[in-house]
């Protein structure tokens, strides 16, 4: 991994996290708020494959975990899994315009399911059928809506840097 690629990833994650906390979280949208980090993880997974997706997901998740009140590592696990699953679709989505939307949907549901399952295992009061269902019908569609704005930007940046050693693994 070159230093530029590392800096791109770090800058993208930090920007998304800050935007999420300071702007997106305050938008008066109905339902649960959109999850920028998840869209970013999916975008990296689609641009570079499963390894990039899960590493981005893990790092973004750890940072989001540290800035919240739940246990460390929970979002890291959910995002890493989502990044991996979406990364497996990379080859298929490369030639399609509609498949990225499906990939975000899949990634969103994977992350949500993993996080909820962990919550159930840890007896987290925040995880109820209502709250998970609400996120599934609002936060996940929001992520799909954000896809055309984030995915092309990320893949364009990655291609411009012309560094994809991760893809050749």
């Amino acid at each position: 991994m070159t230093i530029q690629r590392f800096l791109l990833g770090a800058a993208a994650i930090l920007t998304a996290l800050l935007l999420q906390l300071t702007v997106v979280g305050r938008l008066p949208l109905p339902g649960a708020e959109p999850d920028l980090l998840l869209v970013l993880v999916v975008a990296f997974a689609l641009a570079e494959g499963p390894l990039s997706g899960m590493v981005t997901g893990f790092v973004a998740g750890i940072l989001a975990d540290a800035l919240s009140v739940h246990e460390l590592g929970r979002l890291a696990l959910a995002y890493a899994l989502a990044g991996y699953v979406v990364g497996l679709l990379q080859d298929e989505t490369a030639r399609s315009t509609l498949l990225p939307f499906g990939a975000v949907l899949l990634g969103g549901l994977t992350a949500l399911g993993a996080f909820a399952l962990e919550g159930v295992l840890l007896a987290d009061q925040h995880i109820t059928v209502y709250s998970v269902g609400r996120a599934a019908i609002s936060s996940v569609p929001y992520a799909v809506v954000l896809t055309p704005f984030v995915v092309p930007v990320v893949s364009g940046l990655v291609r411009r840097l012309d560094i994809d050693p991760l893809r050749r693994l």
Binding site: V23, R26, E118
Partner: protein, 342 residues
């Protein structure tokens, strides 16, 4: 698939690392390497959030004011009549109006409770996708904020501080499902617990079935180590008897709208009631020369001790009562213990 074995191995490693962190953090105290990692990230992110958050707050305010416009319409009409010169500006001032309302609410709060909250701005609202209801405010330990302090907004309870960094603090909001606060209905001695339910309304469970709770009753905090007493939480909107018939649950409409927050206050000094000193045993206070009142009630075996008797009489009256009674019978049995004077 290229290198899928290696990728899968790394995936398993990452997932295991994540789960190990979770397991370690699950039972961890507020110390140790994980806590310092969390604190480090918080400390780095705090100032950045502060800067970005205050820059974005004008945008956020304008947007946050949008859903509230409807309720302001009647107010706005009056304002328009009163302030003709502001007519053109009012539409663009929804965000500012929101802020003014919040400040007004806080000032009212200061007026009727006597608390002196430290003012703060909300700079960030908790990360999505973890179902938590938290907010980050721009005051921290440098401003005297500590964990577990009551946070108010408008004129009601907003939440409590949980993690405090040097210049920012995280607030657990009343809507969070793990949020619980002891509450009392005004004018009644009812004791109960108000619980947050995310986007659904708060509920208040009463331990007693005797106290009467009606729609419209006002709920205040009872006061505890964490929460300052007498802070308004909300009003009762409906009451449902529980099926077990030993408790009742009321739904509460909180005074604070957690979805449109800007100006909040942190109560750093809870109310002091009258200074209290521990109760002392009866009779230690008065001097031995004061004439003891003849007792109307028979106190049973009266422990009497002359000043020359055992000095332990005041400390353990029951133990000294029988020996002192046999060795030196007191001429005038008094209901009070006579204190030992040096």
């Amino acid at each position: 698939m290229r290198g899928s074995r290696r990728v899968r191995l790394i995936l398993i490693l990452l997932l295991l690392t994540a789960f190990t962190l979770t397991a370690l953090d699950y039972n961890a105290a507020k110390t140790g390497p994980l806590a310092s990692l969390r604190k480090g990230i918080d400390t780095v992110f705090g100032p950045v959030q502060r800067v970005v958050g205050s820059a974005a707050s004008s945008v956020g305010n304008a947007l946050g004011g949008l859903p509230r416009l409807g309720s302001y319409q009647s107010d706005n009409r009056k304002l328009l009549e009163e302030n003709g010169r502001l007519k053109g500006q009012i539409a663009s001032m929804a965000g500012l109006q929101c802020q003014v309302d919040q400040l007004n609410g806080l000032m009212h709060f200061v007026g009727y409770t006597g608390y002196r909250p430290v003012p703060a701005h909300v700079v960030a609202v908790g990360p999505a996708s973890s179902f938590e209801w938290t907010a980050t405010i721009d005051v921290g330990s440098k401003d005297g904020i500590k964990p577990a302090m009551t946070v108010v907004a408008y004129s009601g309870l907003l939440g409590r501080t949980v993690d405090v960094g040097p210049s920012t603090s995280k607030v657990l909001l009343i809507a969070d499902p793990s949020f619980q606060v002891g509450g009392t209905i005004i004018g009644q001695s009812s004791l109960g617990v108000a619980v947050g339910h995310g986007s659904r309304p708060m509920t208040y469970s009463l331990a007693s079935t005797r106290s009467i709770v009606r729609k419209g009753d006002v709920l205040l905090t009872t006061g505890s180590d964490t929460y300052a007493p007498g802070v308004p939480i909300g009003t009762v909107t409906s009451v449902t008897p529980d099926t077990n018939a030993i408790s009742r649950t009321a739904t509460i409409a909180p005074y604070v709208d957690v979805s449109a927050l800007d100006l909040v206050g942190v109560i750093t000094e809870p109310a002091r009631t009258a200074p209290r000193t521990p109760l002392r045993p009866l009779g230690v206070g008065p001097s031995p020369t004061s004439t003891p009142c003849p007792s109307a009630i028979n106190h049973g075996p009266v422990p009497t001790a002359t000043p020359t008797a055992a000095p332990t009489a005041t400390v353990r009256p029951t133990a000294s009562s029988s020996p002192s009674a046999t060795s030196s019978p007191s001429p005038s049995p008094s209901p009070e213990f006579t204190p030992t004077t040096p």
